[in-house]
């Protein structure tokens, strides 16, 4: 499957990926509205760690044997056998945070949506409205620090 890879050497810590992710996962898909007006304000599923000297955009690896799926007690976290995509179904999620504690990369967050805690993670922009073949964070990166490459398995 195609995965997003973060190249630490080229990451500038500008966080344009985070903003693109927020816009992509907002109700309006309008950066200005998404960042200044929408409530709840959208959450970025990619997190830039580090400072302007050393940084990395940490993102879900869509693992071959995902621990988050293994640990999920409600069946919300699933790996699609055909595409390899790991997603969390908000309808099934009970917000137990097992996935958060199991993920070796720290790529699952639990946020409060309409008074209910649910797990949020990268979906490779597979919701409709995405740019086919290029997730929003990859498209927004100015320096090739996020790449979307075919990988083994």
């Amino acid at each position: 499957m195609k995965r997003i890879y973060a190249i630490e050497a080229w990451c500038l810590g500008c966080k344009r990926c985070e903003i693109a992710c927020k816009t992509q996962h907002s109700a309006t898909r309008d950066t200005v509205k998404a960042l200044t007006q929408e409530q709840p304000s959208p959450t970025s599923r990619v997190q830039v760690e580090g400072d302007r000297f050393l940084s990395l955009a940490v993102n879900c690896r869509h693992c071959a044997q995902p621990k988050c799926v293994k640990g999920c007690i409600s069946g919300a976290m699933q790996k699609d056998p055909a595409s390899g995509l790991v997603t969390s179904d908000p309808a099934k999620c009970v917000g137990c945070r097992t996935c958060v504690s199991m993920c070796p990369f720290g790529c699952v967050q639990v946020v409060s949506v309409e008074g209910r805690d649910i797990a949020l993670k990268c979906d490779l922009c597979t919701e409709d409205g995405c740019i086919p073949g290029e997730p929003a964070c990859v498209a927004a990166c100015p320096n090739g620090a996020l790449v979307y490459w075919e990988s083994e398995e």
């Binding site: 500038l12 500008c14 344009r16 950066t31 200005v32 960042l35 200044t36 000297f53 100015p142 320096n143």
Partner: protein, 501 residues
């Protein structure tokens, strides 16, 4: 002491579009922007803005633009605001004014006064999409006559060393030190992919660029930094730099803070010391001395590589070019006064030298008059802005052109003229690791390759329109040019007729 300087630019932020995301703050190495969470807005220190437009480009909502500082002058065309500010700066610091990039003065740009020809009815135009169109150029000395064995179809004359360019464009000398290694690597990668050459400048040849050695021209300048037998033999050609268009008559000065471990190793000088290139080569005080250096370099490389001599376009450029050709140069590079630089005294940059168009025309004319034009190659440099400029340069007599500013602009440079601060936000003219990494050489090389490929297509289109199918047939073909809005004297020097003639 109160600083009388006022800001040059004003950061214009559209409050309706600003999301306070902080990209501008994180991307500005001059610390102009600051997200003030308490006040719920982003503030700007206008004084620090150099108009590099990094934030303008990076802002996810295009909320930013850089405007002129609204302060007006007093209406005098003599004591302009810029003039007052220069005096204020020197009254404050007591120093020489430093500037970067090429001459920005509003002198005539002759390229814009030269119109191109196209065929109609007779000698029909050629469609480059359907018919072959040759843009290959060979640079180097040429024998006076060519002996051919017609029965065997072989050339009997021993040909001097030449380099082959698939496109009539090379990347001019920019040293590692003046630009970042990533910028140089991007140009090296682009040169290899395009089948042309990049120039190391006077900064040595970094070991990581070995894979691109076949596409490298190494420079020998007055400071002789990084020069060794390996250095000379590793590249495809050697260039002796006598002068630079942006600052003719003066040397170079790379401040010690830019000489980090890598620059120090590549230049073969101690870390942290200023790298000072003297104004003249201290072993060249005559054409005969130049000849000695040319032949020393040829000896050192066993006559396998062409040697170029780069001179700045100055008043008697034609005589100097002629002397250089007679001294044994295989390629003569003429650099006009709009050519860029990482740092030059402002008064030199703005007042010394002449335009490349006039220099090129007079050099070509002089070499032809003396019957030696065909024995050397001529390269024009100093602000080639588009493919049309290349076509004009070749029609005026150049074999090929050097571009540097345009290549840097492809890499992100916005000509803010603040190279000498070492804080280039685009990762080009800086050695700070956190800024250097902003320029991913792979991304940069792709952009430069795209630019030159696009230009080459355009050159083919323009040549096709003229009914010319090889760039060799365009060289010195001044009938393909017509002047517009030029005086008789200018037309005479350029060797072109006026439009309508």
């Amino acid at each position: 002491m109160l600083d009388y300087l006022i800001p040059r630019y004003k950061v214009l932020r559209d409050a309706d579009l600003c999301t306070r995301c902080g990209v501008c703050e994180r991307t500005c190495s001059n610390d102009v922007h600051r997200v003030d969470e308490q006040a719920g807005r982003v503030t700007a220190d206008h004084m620090k803005c150099v108009n590099c437009q990094r934030c303008v480009t990076m802002c996810p909502t295009h909320a930013l633009a850089i405007g002129k500082w609204p302060q007006v002058g007093n209406g005098s065309s003599n004591w302009t605001l810029e003039c007052l500010q220069d005096i204020a700066k020197q009254a404050q610091t007591g120093g020489v004014l430093l500037a970067s990039m090429g001459n920005p003065q509003p002198h005539p740009i002759y390229w814009d006064h030269l119109l191109l020809n196209a065929s109609q009815v007779t000698n029909p135009s050629i469609d480059p999409l359907r018919e072959p169109m040759e843009t290959r150029v060979f640079l180097g000395a040429r024998p006076e006559a060519l002996k051919v064995n017609e029965r065997d179809h072989t050339v009997m004359t021993k040909l001097p060393p030449q380099i082959k360019l698939d496109v009539p464009v090379m990347f001019s000398a920019m040293s590692f030190g003046s630009i970042s290694l990533n910028a140089q690597t991007a140009l090296a990668m682009a040169a290899q992919e395009l089948g042309t050459f990049f120039n190391t400048g006077e900064g040595g040849f970094h070991h990581s660029l070995k894979p691109y050695a076949d596409n490298a021209i190494v420079q020998v300048a007055s400071g002789r930094f990084g020069v060794s037998p390996e250095y000379l033999n590793t590249a495809a050609a050697i260039e002796i730099k006598i002068g630079q268009g942006a600052k003719p008559g003066i040397g170079g000065h790379l401040p010690g803070e830019k000489i980090d471990a890598e620059v120090s190793r590549t230049r073969m000088i101690p870390q942290g010391t200023d790298a000072i290139s003297p104004a003249p080569h201290h072993d060249i005080y005559s054409i005969e001395d130049l000849r000695q250096l040319i032949f020393s370099l040829k000896e050192a490389t066993r006559y396998t590589k062409p040697v170029a001599v780069k001179i700045a376009a100055v008043h008697n450029v034609a005589a100097i070019a002629s002397g250089s050709a007679r001294a044994g140069a295989d390629i003569i590079v003429v650099d006009g006064f709009r050519g860029g630089t990482g740092a030059a005294p402002k008064r030199i940059r703005d007042n010394v030298g002449i335009p490349i168009e006039l220099a090129l025309a007079s050099v070509d004319e002089r070499l032809r008059e003396e019957g030696i034009r065909s024995t050397v190659s001529l390269v024009a440099a100093g602000s080639i802005r588009s493919s049309a400029d290349i076509v004009r340069a070749i029609a005026l007599g150049a074999d090929a052109v050097y571009v540097a500013s345009a290549a840097l602009i492809a890499l992100g440079c916005h000509q803010c003229q603040d190279c000498s601060s070492g804080k280039c936000n685009w990762g080009i003219a800086t050695q700070r690791p956190e800024l250097v990494k902003r320029l991913n050489p792979e991304v940069g090389a792709q952009r430069v390759v795209n630019l030159i490929r696009a230009w080459n297509h355009e050159i083919q289109e323009m040549m096709g329109g003229m009914g010319i199918n090889a760039i060799e047939s365009l060289r010195g073909n001044r009938l393909m040019l017509r002047g517009i809005g030029l005086t008789d004297r200018e037309l005479t020097i350029l060797g072109v007729k006026h439009a309508g003639e």
